[in-house]
């Protein structure tokens, strides 16, 4: 049904209690990444993250996806793993990528991403085989925030 999954093996051991994982894959085009932010925001709302945190996460995921989409080779697919834990949501987005692709971090968009997520990490394209480039972001549950 799908190409290789370079995020994790599909039939990994069950998610422990208090944890859910959703994997989603779309065309790596700015016009096709919307379902990734929709799913992530929906999962955050279900996990009862507060409304501002849901909005921030939606924007951060859009930023990560849009950034990678502009670096993708034609016909590439974008792979996204959303992991919901009790205390945080972790989103990992990847594209297959030529080794030379570089994510610009001195942009307005990257500053927005770094502001809205509690943690952002670039997953380099010099380790994976086939080469892939990714962004992992973490949004913590805002405990005690109205």
């Amino acid at each position: 049904m799908t190409g290789y999954n370079f995020l994790r093996s599909v039939n990994e051991a069950t998610a422990p209690a208090g944890q859910a994982e959703v994997y989603i894959e779309v065309g790596a085009l700015p016009a096709q990444v919307a379902p990734l932010r929709v799913v992530t925001a929906d999962l955050a709302a279900r996990a009862d993250f507060d409304l501002d945190a849901v909005a921030d996460l939606r924007m951060a995921v859009d930023e990560a996806c849009s950034t990678l989409a502009t670096l993708a080779v034609p016909d590439a697919r974008m792979q996204c793993l959303v992991r919901v834990d009790t205390e945080r949501i972790t989103v990992t987005v990847r594209i297959p990528s030529p080794r030379i692709a570089v994510i610009s971090q001195d942009t307005f968009g990257w500053r927005v991403l770094a502001t809205l997520a509690d943690k952002v990490e670039i997953l380099g394209n010099d380790v994976a085989d086939p080469p892939s480039l990714g962004i992992r972001l973490v949004k913590e549950r805002q405990v005690g925030v109205a």
């Binding site: 208090g18 859910a20 279900r46 009862d48 009790t86």
Partner: protein, 121 residues
């Protein structure tokens, strides 16, 4: 709002109270196979404990799947057996469309808001 027990879960809330002699069950959230058991047990409990009219307010329901429709039909049947009038409150497409698409609209007394359901007008 209370936090979800487990992440990735569907959320539903069912609250009940009395208005005059009428029991009102207000449902909010998504009624799918995962959440239907909670709605079923709440409605069964209401039917056991009341002798008067039952109003099920679905105004805040954002999704209604076939398991939820089945519970409404069961509730209608059980209420009918005990001569308890049952009224539904719904105005959103998310609830009206499932009832309509499955031909169940005719089976129920449907009101657009709770005040109308309580007075039967």
């Amino acid at each position: 709002d209370s936090p979800a027990d487990a992440p990735g879960e569907q959320l539903i809330s069912v609250s009940t109270h009395s208005v005059g002699g009428t029991r009102v069950v207000a449902v909010a959230g998504e009624v799918d196979m995962g959440t239907t058991p909670r709605l079923r047990s709440a409605l069964q409990q209401e039917l056991r404990s009341t002798g008067s009219m039952l109003v099920v307010d679905l105004s805040e329901v954002h999704f209604l799947g076939s398991s939820g429709l089945a519970v409404l039909v069961e509730t209608k049947d059980a209420a009918g057996e005990r001569d308890i009038p049952l009224r539904l409150v719904c105005s959103s497409r998310e609830v009206l469309r499932p009832l309509e698409a499955t031909g169940l609209t005719e089976l129920f007394e449907i009101y657009p808001d709770r005040a109308a359901a309580l007075t039967g007008s």
